[in-house]
Symmetry: C2
Subunit: 498 residues, 2 copies
């Protein structure tokens, strides 16, 4: 991949680091990566070993990913925003052979703890040439590529906490390359694309944008942090064609002086307000028209695309050609269309499991190899996916499985409901009963019977609440509803084990 890429695209620009102004074309980039791999080999990196990147956005991320892959090793891109304690856990979990870091991304105390371990450290822009990233590249011979199967691991990305600790999703070479190819196709990207990574590359969405740009021979720009004015300046100077930008940032750009937002004409964007649309080029790719999909880190980003085919009933669109999808029941069996269950995924882009987590892998994969996404969805009669919500806890009533998220979604549609949470209360006959805690909007009057009646009509009758409690607020931990507190306050309990 790399060698051919260097020869395929040659003097086309490959990467640009905004802070340093360092630019490399594809031929130079390929040479750097071969020497970086040569350095890795010289310090003993072997097939299956782990390399860590700990820092903000930089071309290093792409260089390290490809260089590690060249030797059959794996790159872990770490969240530089996490706490020292989390970072300590993650580093022990990875047991890496090489750590490449940016100044300020690693607490001194943690660095001190690790100094006696057999692990090689490299720092981006260190004054000490014995551990400086650029010096390592400059002084190394080029390494040859180790032949690896297409389902070999190439990337580790940490995802949501399981039992209190994050776990790293293993992503394969084929997941990276194939997802990049098909995603670039939907976005209409080619070697004229100039993509600015201004959001963190430890998130799969930005990383996929960057990889897709790389795979089609486009130009990847990296910036650690850019406020709206700085972003406008970069877009204008480098004729950026694509970046990850959301309405709040668009608003801030619209508030800038007209002179500061000149020169955004190269940027392709989904339509927003007329004054925004006048500044940019409206993205008329399939993706630009319907930029939605369901995915997660463990599926290398999008597993469904609303850009595939005509719009359907389900807002998340159809599964990509690289995956299969099943809506699963609690036992891992497949549910028919129209029923809500856990979204299951299988295929080229789906992670084969979590790094060193056999106990989680047993839970998150069925015997048939379906990945349990921990999200609820429904496959509509037209083949599209409706996303219901995170799976959360299961309520068991009369041998039926009830997902609070589905009932909550149903009740939230009632006029006058501000917020809602659903719990299970112990029931001597049915094991559990459904109880809804509803926060009405100010001035709204809702009664219990109306809520129950609405649910009976909208979802399966056994899922309707047996009781509705009205409250002024819902207890939260941060942004998330605190279901344990709800159970204490409203007599929840009797949940099925496991």
């Amino acid at each position: 991949m790399l060698d051919e890429h260097g020869r395929r695209w040659r003097d086309r620009p490959a990467v640009l680091e905004m802070e340093s102004g360092r630019r490399f074309d594809y031929a130079a980039f390929a040479g750097r990566v071969r020497r970086l791999a040569g350095w890795m080999e010289s310090v003993g990196l072997k097939q299956g070993d782990r390399v860590v990147w700990l820092g903000q956005n930089a071309p290093c991320v792409l260089e390290l990913l490809v260089a590690a892959g060249r030797l059959g090793a794996v790159l872990a891109i770490l969240n530089w925003r996490q706490s020292e304690d989390e970072l300590r856990f993650v580093l022990h979990d990875l047991d890496p052979q090489i750590i490449v870091w940016q100044p300020d991304s690693l607490p001194d105390s943690l660095r001190a703890e690790w100094k006696d371990r057999s692990c090689v450290w490299l720092c981006q822009d260190s004054l000490d040439s014995t551990c400086d990233y650029e010096s390592a590249i400059a002084g190394a011979p080029e390494a040859a590529a180790v032949a690896m199967p297409s389902d070999a691991a190439q990337l580790l990305l940490y995802t949501a906490a399981f039992s209190g600790r994050p776990a790293a999703a293993i992503l394969t070479r084929q997941a990276l390359v194939l997802q990049a190819i098909q995603y670039a196709a939907l976005r209409g990207w080619n070697n004229r694309t100039t993509y600015l990574s201004a959001t963190p590359l430890f998130h799969v969405a930005t990383l996929l944008d960057c990889l897709a740009t790389f795979v089609v021979g486009g130009h990847n720009l990296f910036v650690r942090h850019a406020d709206p004015a700085a972003m406008c300046a970069i877009i204008a100077a480098e004729k950026v064609s694509d970046t990850f930008i959301l309405p709040p940032t668009m608003e801030k750009i619209l508030e800038l002086d007209a002179s500061a937002r000149n020169g955004l004409g190269s940027l392709r964007s989904m339509p927003y307000k007329p004054e925004w649309n006048a500044l940019v080029t409206i993205d008329d790719s399939l993706w630009g028209k319907r930029p939605y999909g369901y995915g997660q880190t463990e599926t290398m980003g999008y597993a469904t695309f609303s850009a595939l085919g005509d719009p359907g009933k389900g807002g998340m669109g159809r599964p990509s050609p690289l995956v299969r999808m099943a809506i699963l029941d609690e036992e891992g069996g497949e549910l028919p269309d129209g029923e809500v269950g856990e979204i299951g995924m299988k295929g080229w882009t789906v992670s084969p499991g979590y790094w060193r987590r056999p106990e989680i892998n047993v839970q998150r994969y069925t015997a048939d190899g379906w990945r349990r996404t921990n999200d609820l969805g429904r496959r509509e009669s037209d083949g599209t996916l409706s996303f219901i919500g995170p799976k959360g806890r299961l309520i068991k009533s009369a041998a039926e499985n009830i997902y609070p998220a589905e009932v909550e979604r149903c009740i939230a549609q009632i006029d006058g409901v501000a917020e809602v949470a659903v719990i299970g209360t112990p029931d001597p006959v049915w094991m559990q009963s459904v109880r809804a805690i509803v926060v009405p909007k100010p001035g709204a009057t809702i009664d219990e019977a109306a809520v129950i009646d609405h649910c009976r009509k909208a979802i399966a009758s056994y899922k309707k609440p047996r009781s509705v409690v009205f409250a002024d607020t819902l207890p939260r931990t941060g942004a998330a509803i605190d279901y344990a507190a709800l159970d204490r306050l409203y007599e929840g309990g009797g949940y099925p084990a496991g």
Copy 2:
């Protein structure tokens, strides 16, 4: 792939057979394929077994390919135009477990020879329901999919004769699916695409068009034979968006009555004459603008695309993201840019070898795994590929390798040259000398010194002819120049062994 496809695209039209008018949507198509696989299983088809399709274009081809793949078996799509003797050889070579055939595609004598072999026959549209394709599908249970690695064989396509006999290129699942995805992207195809297969599906180009349409959820139409008027009628009736059509057919369509060529507006076509362009929709996809590339059956079609990136010096464009390319010397080493050598390919879409041909595989693959394409090319300084010609014989002079095709290409550029062929003559000192046999255009005068001088300036001096012979014609076998006859006529010989 199949199950998901049936659910992803549901009631979108999947296939239409023009002769019978049979149409199936994706859900029905998936059910048919599952039952076809069920029938295959019931007659004992196992992983690695071979299924043969012998007939003209029909939806069966797609159904058989996916059904065989579902059981881990392989489909061989045979050329129904080949002679009885060739067909006999191919059937023995394949040793198939199942043969599905169309009436008229198989000589009775060959059928009689095979009747005692343990091989199950199925005929499209047989009146005898015990061996009828549709009856087999109707009566079978659905088969579950066997999990197979992505580099497992799924397709066998016979290619050019080696030592007098054709050999089947093994093509893998990943070659089929990935090539289809990236090719569909370059063509701008999606589920609104309606493709008419009117050229033979045993050719990789048409088969790839058909597969790409299938993978993106488009509509595949199959016709055994269509004259220009019939083709126009199909395009108009079914709103065909794409088909394989070349200028000679365009000319014939332009000669039809205006009424017969009404309704071609849905057809996307590369630009041709103004009167043609007025009838169709000009294809503005990347592919439509530059529909060229280098490829062969063994690379599942295109391995390079001129649609990738800006136009460059080499007319064949850049290698696809799914392959690596090397220009190889005789020993399998890699030549630098600008030098002519054998085009070598490696990667996801490249065949791992020929079916049951270890002796050919040793010749056609280097120790490093490069496929030797038997074609000559040059990688230009901008990364693009120039195609020089079939490799043909090698001339050896003063330890240098000289490919006649390169010298011929050079001489053909001289004004007044109608045709040229280059041979090697024995040379006591240098092993061989280059001799050009030139056919001048009527009335043209060319002299030997001018030919030699032109070559000295245009290509490496050691490749220039030592002698030039002028002739009225070149001996041919069919369309091909008969080099053995040239050697006899013009004292060729002394070629290196092997």
